[in-house]
Assembly symmetry: C2
Homo-oligomer: 671 residues x 2
Amino acid sequence: MVPNSVNPDLQKERDGASFNREEFASWWAGGAESLKFKRDVKEYMLKGLNHADHALLYYKSHEEICDFSVRTAIETGKRLRRLQEERNPGGDEYWPELYASPEVWAATPAGNPFGVQYVMLVKALKAQCTPEQYEEFGKRVERFEVCATYAQTELGHGTYLRGLETRADYDRQADEFVLNTPKISSYKWWPGGLGHCSNHCLLVAQLYIDNQPKGIHMFYVQVRDENTHEPLPGVHIGEIGKKMGFIGVNNGFLGVKNVRIPRTRMLMRHAQVKADGTYVKSPADVLTYFAMVHTRCIIARNNALFLAMAATIATRYAAVRRQSPINPKAPEPQIIDHVTQQLKVFPEIASSLAYHLASNNLWGLYSVTINDIARGKYERLPELHSLSCALKVLCSTDSSLGIERLRLACGGHGYLTSANLSNLYISATAACTYEGENTVLLLQIGRFLMKSWRAALAGAPLAPTVNYLADGVRNAEFGAWTGSWENLVDAMKFVAANKTRLAYKSLTNRLEKGETEEEAANHTGIELIQAAELHGRAFVFGSFVSEVTGAKSKTRSASLNAVLELLLELYLIHVTLKQMSDILRFINLSDADLSKLQERLETTLTKLRPEAVAIVDGFDFTDQQLSSTLGSFDGNAYEHIFEAAMNSPMNQKSVPKFFHEHLGPFMKSNI
Amino acid sequence: MVPNSVNPDLQKERDGASFNREEFASWWAGGAESLKFKRDVKEYMLKGLNHADHALLYYKSHEEICDFSVRTAIETGKRLRRLQEERNPGGDEYWPELYASPEVWAATPAGNPFGVQYVMLVKALKAQCTPEQYEEFGKRVERFEVCATYAQTELGHGTYLRGLETRADYDRQADEFVLNTPKISSYKWWPGGLGHCSNHCLLVAQLYIDNQPKGIHMFYVQVRDENTHEPLPGVHIGEIGKKMGFIGVNNGFLGVKNVRIPRTRMLMRHAQVKADGTYVKSPADVLTYFAMVHTRCIIARNNALFLAMAATIATRYAAVRRQSPINPKAPEPQIIDHVTQQLKVFPEIASSLAYHLASNNLWGLYSVTINDIARGKYERLPELHSLSCALKVLCSTDSSLGIERLRLACGGHGYLTSANLSNLYISATAACTYEGENTVLLLQIGRFLMKSWRAALAGAPLAPTVNYLADGVRNAEFGAWTGSWENLVDAMKFVAANKTRLAYKSLTNRLEKGETEEEAANHTGIELIQAAELHGRAFVFGSFVSEVTGAKSKTRSASLNAVLELLLELYLIHVTLKQMSDILRFINLSDADLSKLQERLETTLTKLRPEAVAIVDGFDFTDQQLSSTLGSFDGNAYEHIFEAAMNSPMNQKSVPKFFHEHLGPFMKSNI
């Protein structure tokens, strides 16, 4: 039923682009070698999957979905392991490194209940175990002889870790910890795979010695029998029920009642509890910072990918859907010709790039400072931590809103599960909450900005990425508005600095009125989060400009540079216009300046029009990755929609059971 | 497990409010009598529902869900019919009037596949059938002797109706129409209940006589056998598969191939086809306008309710969730004490009111003009139609975004299906697309504004709700910024007028450069939709101010008025700040003016803090309506979350099947 040929409307777009799609793909993937590696992995991992079974996923019952996800996750693990053995025996760049990577997502479309085990747990064990501990139980997790997850969040506490209620009391006589979740709110809640897919976990709990709190520590705890999989005595474990997404990830709950573990099951690489109950504090929390920056870079990278996937789907669909005449004498146009449609779709393509580049940039900055850290110099950590928070917040927020705009840009069919846009949205929006709730993170950034502003006022040196605050302290005026890219970056920094100034003023006023630091910070919360957002935006702006105009541009062809410049122009103008209320408060723009921006926006949309399809092709997603009836490479959207509908179990019988049991009798009953 | 008592944190809020919740509830419901009526209906209709079965809904397979929805929809129909017979035999205010009303939504939590039959179809048949036709087949639909739906949207065409491809060719010899969906894109796609729940439908098709197109008409077509429910010859029918929401609504597809119906099955109250093939045009399309305004008022009303439901859930949860210390020496506060949380939640409460009132206001305006219409005066129809579009667009957009903000404000638990916020979102966002895609509607409004501006330039009289454009033509300056409520309404109008002016200028420039009217409108699209949005905002502002400050305020207690004034203040300030980039372009505000707005925002949040719970209580939703573990009246959120999790089928066995089949062997295999 689906034609073997590419929809001519889409082919025409591909033929008309001005740049080389392969060069774009190579740039986006981080080089030709990286592109080839990713393509090889995808081909190996996604070949011969059971498509018929995958297509039925959203028609299954919850139990069937859980079964499906375990099955596909294990198949994926086996296949990756085979790939590793074939390509580089004894290495780890395929298995387990890629187990939860974007290249294999499509192999586990219900999610991977063992993802946490390899994305977080093995890493945490490596970082926090003593060598003996890692040998004893860490390696078993790494080898998948046991299945384990990371149990931190509780029913009553999420981002605010210090409030966790699970306790581990040291029993000197027995040389054991006694674990308890004393209240319903202390139950562990949410950990991926905890429900029925783990027999061990890393439990995050408040350590108590002689009833004295020693803060949060990690404990390696067995929760199910390795042979029978039955929960162990004192363990109350199960799954937390249906969620918006993560349908097969088996997020679980865990209550423990006087569960005892040996003292040596507290991870003791840094902090320690001696047999006599002596507590040795961890020398530094650098590693925690390090892990958090890493995680947040990955979130930003993944969310940029979700957005790029949605942009691919919406762009291709906009090229094949024809609707609503522009010229009443001509046939209905491709909807990508409607300027309002361009405004919905193209900025999201640009936004994918912006966050992809910002995430790369931050990771680069971080790698540079690793040397400092190795030499015991931790000064830049708070700055980079703040930046990683900002990036995580902005990317999760903008990508989710962007994906929704793209879904809505596909009209009614965007609402079909088979379009896959709703699933991308759900994956993206979850990142607004996990790994630090966005508002809480913004407030932390706000506090960092307050500290930095105070330092700037005192003339103290500032960290490089907040140095612009010192300019803000010095200069009350912005200078000339030229509208150049550098000028737009400067404007965003200037506005961030001024919002920081206003927030600082409000905070100080409140302190002077006698409020405590904490009360004042709460009451200044709205201004703090605004300043924090702008701080992040200035960084994203800067990253994008320096990638496009910097030294690397010399390694690219002129035609690729031209299209990257268009995307940069669109991004800067679009975001600048969105933040215009803040800008106009601090910078004088004439009516002509504003009209000029609007004109540049419209011009750039027009110039991107013939390039859009080739750009999203350059993201190099396969049809399996996109899993979208609207966004397939061949552009036969209606046929794919139709085929997907025909797969519905309801369409396998002409007359449903409910007609005989309910509907038929009801119509005859005259009610 | 769930306590019988109300969470003390919530009780404290209720005890501390300054106004009478019952008075609020009565005002919100449209009077004491209406409140009582709604409560009675809810009690009767929702009593004794099978909660255990309802709680399992999201764990079921698609087929089970379809069965569930048909079953519950029929049970609801029967019960409403009994209610009608008991309270007012022979009337229709319960059955069928309330069949798809908010009061009974909770009885059909998977949606009502027969909703379209009573919300749209019976009304369309009444309006468009001749009396003989209605007697012959309309009444059968009304009495539910047959089940029928409204088949308009196609795979290839939605909002742009003139593009529909299904055709009805008149065959003079046979005195029949021959129906065809010639291409895959012509298939009917989306109609609720069409898949397996209808044996008839109202097919919207292009009428052809002697191959000459006569435009769109409606045809009553049988699609399934009434006894066997098998599809009739030439009919290809089924469901369109899984969607984001509307999980049990059985949205369907329909293809017809040379299906023949008698000539008398075209609805002929207005347009007619005579036996000899003579075509008689419909005298006016007033009724179409009328139906559309009505539908869009209902969408705005329903979406305001979705938002109010979400606001109820988030407000109650914010009162019982404690997290992140403000004062480090005090226990963790209710999160409603965090100012950033207030900023997320309270504006959405106010927004629910704003759209509720705007919808009432528009309906009132409309009713007033019905007399004009009866006297053949249709002048105000385009104006009101435009306003109804604006209201539908803004309310669907703002309510969906608002519900998402509220969900995110509930942290991780907002992501649980049992919180019900994701379902509310999905219901709300669908309204952005159905009954006229939002951007298409905004462009229509934009064109109406262009016409009006041209009229204003020419000094012609304008319709009352666009009269402010004439002021815009006359006055280049706004006058004094006072920040009073009236001033804020005027500012929104002034900005709307100026955006209209700019769009008109761009449009005219393009026309002068030789673009056609249609090309110019497309290229000016961005400016047109911005002007249209502001036009709508000014109307919503005006409605809210006049309800709160107008004559009706004398019928309310001072304490209720005080709380309504707070909500009005919050709404106006919050939206004004959001539109500040437009405002600053046209109106001079000093830095002090801007700081004052920020201060008013913060002050109002503080004043609303002790009233918030009582306000949402006043929306008077029952726990069954909210169906939310986070938002129940008793505030025992954690216990409800826990109970819901324990219902999961996965939690009924300690060890899942997949352990024995997949996971256990895998761990033992050393891969």
